[in-house]
Symmetry: D2
Subunit: 335 residues, 4 copies
């Protein structure tokens, strides 16, 4: 029997999670929701998803636009075991009472505060903490990227202190109203940034300090990381090479910027989704006891496999190794 | 028996043409070339293309990078009936003597001057002119976009004068060294622009005048078009709706900019390729005897079906209707 | 005796208008307003302007930030003959009752609908229409740019039909939350655009049709203009050379884009303000009875001289010729 | 008697250095050079600089463009005591033999390798090292920014290790051919970056490690800095407040990004030049023995006062304190 999944919010993250869930043998998408009958709603229907209205009072808008809906989010919740909430930041927390009332488990995204859920989640970092839980929060794209990298390094080295600078794309590619057109924005200005605390929700023992900026690009975030550690570069490189959710690339092959990485991804997967941390091989170095690394994070896609794994953990469908393996194989994440 | 095709220059256009040719039943890609053993070269091999070195003296670079090559462009030319030259602007003309010497037909792209070939080509505009020819030039992305739009309008209205303003993406998405970061560049400053003359290479009887600008975006070109004509809006809309190589979109569905169009395309096709002219339905209006329209052109993809049709015309494999139908079906261009 | 002027909204336009008014011998700035005690408010005080709070209930915010204020907008209105409203779009109309109650004349900016005032204004186009009026609206930067160019051409040629495509900077340089980061936006999608109607508020007899787009740049708007006319290019060029509010530049001198124009302006005036239409000399051509031109418009500065002239017209301080001459001389607008 | 100065290369840096030198009482600009008769050359003449041709064989180009020149660089070198070379990167080194032959002292910019000169220079860091020297290299904008910040911190704290991440504007505002339009580029990919070594050319005893990226903006660089140290935050803040070449700004005043800083600078100085390091007050914090800071660096202007001080040191016109005071006063650098 498959776990029945609702995706509340078929947007940037939601549409990717829906497709990923549908590729799994042990779960299925029962329905997805939209707040507006726009082209994304029409695509959802065209792809065969049953569509529900996220904001019940807007059902007429959909009828007027001749977009077929099956009912509202409330109808959908009656049919599922778990809802993956992919609403905009803060809306997930507002939705929680609805999920509790319907008696369904729920996954929230990293835009919500950590206390919305029983546990914050990253598959590599703390899969087991989510076992059997009812409310789980998959951490944000930036935190996912850091948590994965640190987890791999920790597996072969004694990590003492992590410093990370996050250079963030200001908006996603589809956004055309918000932005920063010409400038660099420290975000936050007050240092160190809160991102370090978010990493500790999944890796509580790591000593980490972070700084973050927004810059006028849409494609990917980039992290400059340095880690004081005891360990050997060759062991770390080997561990990174071994982990499917890390993709090592080389400047020698022409990967000079995130623009080139995306060009490559356009050949590999629909929507140019990159579920892996993309780490520049040449950036890896140990200098005075400190590991250096630069990685690029595709903010639209990186949390997708984590949402799938979170479902498995919550329903105890598989252990960490097996879940990650199933997820990786289904999404084409491989070495 | 299939027409044997070489793609000289497996870059932005070349890789798309190669994939499109391989989807046809009456032609096949025998080999592709690269000048550097970068990630695109490796992808070509991974996808099963036989790789040849475009600049023979660089063969060692490929060996050093452990990228398997079958020989040089000269070796490749011996095995094919036609070469699609997708070299950077002006290099195509330099390559022509090589093609003549090898006795192969050749297709050039719009970056070359029109006299490089016997005829300039756009399937809707002048398919028959390329029948049996040895050297054909597929016109540029902007000219293709204009030629298609005008051809469809001409089929149902009496076109008197066309005016078009082209707002061009400054570089393709993969480019990370050139650009215009913050500004608008008239290109050319001297008016009217040369683009009108290029449209006349495929539609010699059209009275057209053009202006062009470069702006800091990578996704698509946008054309503002006005056409003095005798005709009815409803007939024009119907003709546009009927032509598979025109995609009508609506602002009402959320298509507010090229950013949204690309978001949509990411769901439809690998590399988010849009082979169609994308015309905003709401922009279509007749005002004081003049048709208005705004269309977006995906500069990386729009000439791909035209290259396929050009091969069919040159080898007289099919007439215009049939060729366009075969190309459209294979590439998922449909109404 | 000098006309006493209030500037309501010391932002992008307001601070420029204040400085320009203060350079005139027949008027003076009595006070300026701000809604927030930010760095612009502090600069106003530092420059010697008396500062008032635009939103009375926010006066404590200013006190808390230790920014000295003289009172609220209501206090300021008691001391002046005219208020130049430089509030954000639509707020001007909301402020109007306040001005009526205080019995002061008012100038609104182009972001307001035309019916907010008795007359829409552009010095070259219709100075005399504002003589003695109480409520005048200075048209927007784009309309100002078009109205000036058309007025000059009309003075030496018989203008039949104007077509203009406006390529607009998406946000001003100081904006860091809104934008369009990578894309082109037809704005509006529905054609022709409303801008033509706005031009007719100052040039009612002109047959004009317009199209407009937003692109990811902050520096200047660019207009592609074509005008069907009877006239000689040499007369038109001479008239443009003769009008101080038109600046002719040449690609030959290195002016290849708006980036270069701004680089030049940084050498000429504080804030790199360009009060003139900047017209590319090489773009000027007559082709099949149609004049072509490309001009760049500095959206932050171009309406500044018009606001000064509007004050003179409203108080009948000078006729058109004299007012424009005084304004030009004070602002360094010269041939 | 004034030191006679030539500025070889009246471009982004050169025009600023020329103006700054001319504001000093103990030096004067005898002439400036250009390679092309473009608008910058014409502005130089208009501002009263005597213009010489940097590439002698191009003198006809200037005559043809009717730009008055006094001769070539060779003629100019005969009349001066020192040349400030503001040529593009690497060209300075090529020019050196010419300077040696002419027997003039020379200052090079940070785009040259350090061995081009006897000493690399930053006024705060190592003024005295340049005393009496013939060939001095003023370090780059990024190195200048770091050297100043570290020097101030070192004056009141025991600095153990400096880590800096530089987020660099990809091109200057006037550039319209090069760039990175949408993406983030690690530059260099290989870590740590060479910038640390460059800081050591002026602060040899500092333990520093750096990382650098390019992003699609033109306005300013931004540095994320962390310094392991023994010291008190209040002492460091006081020292930063005390140093004129550091400008402290506050997010509370509305300084949310480099876009706002430039908006402010447009009110203060021609060309919006910011000669100071701009440090966000709220970013300053000590966390686990480590000082955090974010500073913005105006790449076009920050090295200008350093060039002036370098001339004084080379001719022993004043000691460090006095030279910096004279430079600061003349350029409006003050607390």
């Amino acid at each position: 029997m498959k776990v029945k999944v609702a995706v509340n919010g078929y947007g940037t993250i939601g549409k990717r999670v829906a497709d990923a869930v549908n590729l799994q043998k042990d779960m299925e998408v029962v329905g997805v929701t939209k707040t507006k009958p726009d082209f994304e709603a029409k695509l959802a229907v065209k792809k065969g998803y049953k569509l529900y209205v996220a904001i019940p009072e807007r059902i007429e808008l959909f009828e007027k636009a001749e977009v077929k809906v099956e009912g509202t989010i409330d109808d959908l919740l009656e049919k599922v075991d778990v809802v993956v909430d992919c609403s905009p930041n803060k809306v997930g927390a507002e939705n929680k009472p609805k999920y509790e009332k319907a008696g369904v488990k729920a996954i929230f995204q990293g835009g919500e505060k950590s206390h919305v859920a029983e546990v914050s989640f990253n598959a590599l970092a703390n899969y087991d903490d989510a076992r059997g839980k009812n409310f789980v929060r998959v951490v944000s794209c930036n935190t996912t990227g850091l948590a994965r990298f640190i987890s791999v390094v920790k597996s072969v080295a004694d990590v003492k202190k992590v410093r990370a600078t996050m250079i963030r794309r200001v908006v996603d590619p589809k956004e055309d109203k918000k932005g920063l057109v010409n400038g660099i924005m420290p975000d936050p200005v007050r240092l160190p940034s809160h991102h370090a605390e978010d990493v500790k929700t999944v890796l509580p023992d790591v000593n980490i300090v972070t700084t973050a900026f927004k810059v006028p690009t849409t494609l990917m975030h980039v992290h400059g990381i340095s880690i004081e550690l005891d360990g050997k570069l060759e062991d770390i490189v080997a561990a990174l090479e071994d982990e499917p959710r890390i993709m090592l690339i080389s400047e020698e092959d022409g990967f000079t910027s995130t623009a080139k990485i995306i060009e490559y991804a356009r050949e590999l997967r629909m929507r140019y989704d990159i579920f892996e941390n993309v780490v520049w091989r040449e950036s890896l170095a140990i200098h005075e006891g400190e590991l250096f690394a630069v990685q690029a994070i595709h903010q639209e896609a990186i949390v997708v496999p984590e949402n799938v794994d979170a479902i498995r953990a919550m329903f105890e469908l598989a252990d960490k190794e097996e879940s990650m393996k199933l997820t990786n194989e289904s999404l084409g994440i491989k070495k």
